[in-house]
Symmetry: C2
């Protein structure tokens, strides 16, 4: 087996979405954590539901819908400016500790980010972070208006690369994402940062690691 492209999910895999809780905490003391958790949970629900209903909406817009829901659920009323500032926090997420070193060490393969995030979220995030020199390509699901884990999303990503399906190693910390990629036929490594219990599904990732360093054995 010859891996020619390493394809990384972004949110939760390279970047820590829970760094949003600091931004939430600034505006809503004592509620930063609960709002950021409710925000992420609703964001996931909304793109799952929209993909299922066939009603695509760009990721930045549904992320804002989810933020509005989360704030209301937690009993706070953000101003338009606060909402904008919280959405901007998505452009400055923190990298997990080992990410920069691992990416710098991956030689001789394409290093690609493939995210459900719209281009206006994912491109500024990458270009403003330390891994920018180590990323060869950024692919957004917005290009095909189909969200992972639906098969057409992974098919679109593959179309953007000059490699065969079995030359791709896909990595995600999200169980639903790694299952979708395995179902599509990519090689898969689950970056199980949360040490979560594997799902009882009839497909499974080929490998599981607790952080990205594990993937170096593929090269």
């Amino acid at each position: 087996m010859m891996i020619k492209a390493l394809v990384f999910d972004a949110y939760g895999t390279l970047y820590d979405v829970h760094s949003l809780k600091k931004a939430c905490e600034k505006f809503f003391p004592e509620k930063g954590k609960s709002i950021s958790i409710a925000w992420r949970k609703k964001q996931l629900e909304y793109f799952f539901q929209r993909q299922l209903m066939g009603r695509y909406r760009p990721f930045d817009e549904l992320t804002e819908d989810a933020l509005v829901f989360a704030c209301k659920a937690e009993g706070v009323k953000p101003s338009q400016q606060e909402i904008k500032t919280l959405m901007d926090a998505y452009l400055e997420l923190e990298l997990f500790d080992e990410v920069e070193d691992v990416l710098a060490g991956c030689k001789g393969v394409q290093r690609v980010i493939f995210s459900n995030g719209s281009s206006n979220m994912i491109e500024p995030l990458v270009s403003g972070s330390q891994i920018e020199p180590h990323i060869d390509k950024i692919i957004s699901a917005d290009g095909v208006k189909q969200y992972k884990p639906a098969a057409p999303a992974y098919a679109y990503a593959l179309d953007q690369l000059d490699v065969n399906r079995d030359e791709v190693l896909f990595m995600s910390s999200n169980s639903w994402d790694i299952m979708g990629a395995a179902s599509f036929g990519f090689h898969t490594a689950w970056i199980n940062r949360g040490r979560n219990q594997p799902d009882t599904l009839d497909i499974q990732p080929e490998k599981a690691y607790t952080d990205l360093r594990g993937i170096l054995e593929w090269l």
Copy 2:
């Protein structure tokens, strides 16, 4: 507007899935509630995920997958017999209090159940409960192997009825289900038993009630 068919979701809408916690509690004292909540949550995840990936699996099988996951997550090891007994509890769910009276009072319209549950789950459940005489038809998503809230599931249900799309009033307590039905073009009444906050989506049910009695105003 002339409503000719009342189409009801089953789990959570007519039948209380949280009556499963008693069955769980019997085998796993102190953990009945947490296991039944984890079970339902994972069941939802699994049919969403499978529908998204295009990997259909019958509802009884994925419900058992979800139970196995939930037990493991809660640190208990059920025997095969205990799993069977818990799955059988799905065939004896309790009706919500007002359901029988409301259904008995709906005259001159078809009364239909349309569920993601497979026929071997939903038919024994209905035939063993007091509403059996008040139900004219049972439709399972298994007939088309597409789960709600995907549009082909609602389209299949409509095909089974001798009415037009705008002659259907669809009712569900599940937000994702009522949104899917509204997106498809049914009239919709959200039975918001949990008094949950409405989702911030660009589609909404036409009406919301806290129990089924509200629907009588449509007739």
